[in-house]
């Protein structure tokens, strides 16, 4: 068996695309501690230790197998004013939207309900 792929440095968040909608979604801790998806990066569960990262990986595997999301992977982040921000510019765009169209995408509140917005 091949060695498990090297995990990104922590802290990290789990993101994916919704299979049916294509929207970027983030793993979030649900009410009873189980994991769920949100469209708001600010709410993403930040894994700072191996145990949390492993639970995110297990959730990703289950959700891929359950045909609910595609392209799920962990992204390393830094914390800025209490919110996770991806270190790499590519992933930062994924949490925002096209830089030439500030009126579109998550930066414009797409798919993020007002009550849900952090």
């Amino acid at each position: 068996m091949a060695a498990a792929p090297k995990r990104v440095p922590l802290p990290a968040i789990l993101l994916a695309n919704d299979l049916l909608d294509g929207d970027v979604v983030f793993a979030v801790a649900g009410a009873a501690g189980q994991l769920a998806w949100t469209r708001d990066a600010a709410l993403a569960l930040v894994a700072s230790d191996d145990a949390t990262a492993e639970s995110l990986e297990a959730f990703a595997a289950a959700e891929l197998a359950g045909n609910r999301v595609v392209d799920a992977y962990l992204v390393d982040v830094t914390m800025e004013t209490g919110q996770p921000v991806p270190r790499h510019f590519r992933e930062r765009f994924k949490t925002l939207g096209p830089s030439n169209r500030p009126d579109l995408g998550k930066q414009a509140g797409d798919g993020i309900s007002a009550g849900q917005r952090a």
Partner: protein, 556 residues
């Protein structure tokens, strides 16, 4: 233009039903994501950074007003009110939902359109000269050939799982406006010097991407009748022999390069001689049936130049400039082929809103026999405009922000979507294009610089054709930031050439300065009437490199 018959109609409707079924089998787990991905790609559905993307085929860049209006409607109903015209003459929407794609395909089928083979490792949507049928230097209209290839290549049983994507372009003119030398197969209609019969010059193995190559001629004069059999022979050799061990070495250009064009030609000719041509080729009546759809519209008999046009030009210098830059002489006296620029300064190159699409559709209906062309440079063309109508068109385009007089000039930049949208990109393209446009926004300055093609790609795959830009810009990632490599001397025409890298990569904010220095070398060195690319060819890259090095050192 071509119209579907009952067979085309049924074929496309069946493909929609098939895709709908493929989506439902993906959702119920019958097919895995790995199996579904090529299936959705072969129907134009990508997963990009923020959302799915749908690429709609515009075969050889020809659209009717009705079709363009339908695209506007889809953009509004299922997307965000705009679309992006691509370097392969297609249109892509950036925000569709997978659940909506079957419905979108129904709407496309309603207007004889589809997304078949706009991606995936198959024969892609065929492209052609956007001035087909109207250019003065045309020997024969390439569109009947392109349509024949569109049909033949659609869901081809043998060639739908190729080593890699496969692009075919056709031109019928002496001046190559279809970049045929950068395609896997480039076809050029030409007359045999002795028999005067119109035949195809067949080039194979062009392509950009990681290893850019200029196509090589494998047949000087292929009789028109033999086209499909010859294509079948090429495709069979490629399908069997093309490399499958490394996706960056899987294009036919690598095979041609590795075994040599002589050996490639020998294998193709051997297979072509062996296969039963008459059982493969379309019969002449079928070719004639297709060609009949492309006969010229009933032109009015007009004087070569319109007095109305001359008078309005004299009274309005801005209009005169637009006519000079954005129109070309036409086969029919008193007519012009008009290019509508989708490169207004500060907008994403090739983007058009649904409202703009409707306006162009209306103008085409009123003034251009309801026909529009999409150019590989990401602009739109009204091919059949009476010169005397140009002023009215200009006024209405101006109201919609579409009257930029910059076709072929420094702000008419080709740009892929880059990292603002694309999952494959390594850096952004659109903001670089916008910054250069702002730097050179002044109309007089642009005109003084003259013809200069800047082409920008946000990754090595080169959708923005940077290798064949007079100035090419390639966005890469270097140590965690975006970095831009600049090339000089590329050419997309019949003098096709790959640009040469000028020096180390630059940060985004330094790119406009670097471009300006390069342009300044040209302005100070140029001979009377010499264009940028002619100047680069004459004086060589050294002076440009020296100027570039100054800025590279200053910011290093």
């Amino acid at each position: 233009m071509y119209r579907y018959d009952e067979f085309d109609e049924r074929f496309v409707r069946e493909r929609v039903a098939q895709f709908r079924d493929q989506v439902s089998r993906r959702l119920d787990g019958s097919i895995t994501e790995d199996e579904f991905k090529p299936l959705r790609l072969k129907n134009g559905v990508y997963l990009q950074l923020h959302a799915y993307m749908l690429r709609i085929a515009i075969p050889y860049g020809t659209l009717s007003s009705k079709q363009l209006r339908q695209l506007a409607l889809i953009g509004e109903r299922y997307d965000r009110g705009y679309g992006h015209f691509t370097t392969r003459q297609n249109l892509q929407f950036n925000w569709p939902k997978l659940r909506d794609v079957p419905e979108i395909l129904d709407l496309l089928a309603d207007v004889e359109m589809h997304c078949i083979q706009t991606s995936g490792n198959c024969i892609r949507n065929v492209t052609a000269d956007h001035f087909a049928g109207v250019a003065q230097d045309e020997i024969e209209d390439p569109r009947p050939t392109a349509e024949l290839i569109r049909q033949w290549s659609s869901l081809h049983p043998e060639f739908d799982y190729l080593p890699r994507k496969f692009k075919i372009a056709v031109t019928g003119a002496e001046h190559d406006r279809a970049v045929i030398k950068a395609h896997d197969i480039g076809l050029r209609l030409r007359r045999h010097p002795d028999t005067h019969e119109v035949s195809y010059e067949v080039s194979v193995g062009g392509g950009l991407g990681r290893t850019p190559m200029i196509g090589k001629v494998v047949r000087d004069y292929l009789p028109k009748y033999d086209l499909l059999a010859f294509l079948e022979a090429i495709m069979r050799v490629y399908n069997l022999e093309g490399r499958r061990d490394n996706k960056y070495k899987a294009r036919v250009k690598i095979l041609v390069h590795e075994i040599g064009v002589e050996e490639f030609r020998r294998r193709v000719e051997e297979e072509f001689a062996r296969l039963d041509g008459p059982s493969v080729n379309a019969d002449p009546a079928e070719v004639a049936r297709i060609a009949a759809y492309f006969k010229a519209p009933d032109y009015e008999v007009l004087p070569a130049t319109s007095r109305v046009l001359e008078a309005t030009k004299a009274a309005n210098p801005a209009f005169a400039r637009w006519v000079e830059v954005n129109t070309i002489p036409h086969k029919a006296p008193g007519y012009a082929a008009l290019t509508i620029s989708l490169k207004p300064v500060g907008e994403a190159p090739g983007d058009a809103t649904s409202d703009q699409m409707r306006l162009v559709a209306d103008l085409a209906e009123q003034y251009s026999h309801a026909e529009i062309r999409v150019t590989h440079a990401q602009n739109l063309v009204l091919p059949y405009v009476r010169q005397r109508d140009l002023f009215a068109i200009w006024q209405r385009l101006g109201e919609a922000g579409l009257a930029s007089a910059n076709i072929g000039l420094i702000t008419d930049i080709i740009s892929c979507p880059g990292l603002d949208y694309c999952a494959l990109a390594t850096a952004r393209s659109i903001p670089i294009a916008q910054a250069i446009q702002h730097r050179f926004a002044d109309d007089d300055r642009q005109k003084a610089i003259g013809e200069l093609n800047i082409k920008i790609s946000g990754c090595i795959n080169a959708c923005g054709h940077h290798h064949v830009g007079h100035i090419g810009i390639l966005g890469l990632e270097k140590r965690g930031i975006e970095s831009y490599q600049i090339t000089l001397g590329g050419d997309a025409t019949e003098n096709a050439a790959i640009g040469e890298i000028l020096g180390p990569g630059l940060a985004a904010e330094d790119v406009p300065d670097a471009i300006e220095r390069i342009v300044n070398v040209y302005l100070s060195e140029r001979a009377e009437g010499e264009s940028f690319i002619e100047n680069v060819r004459r004086i060589g890259p050294a002076p440009f490199k020296a100027a570039f090095q100054e800025i590279a050192h200053a910011v290093a």
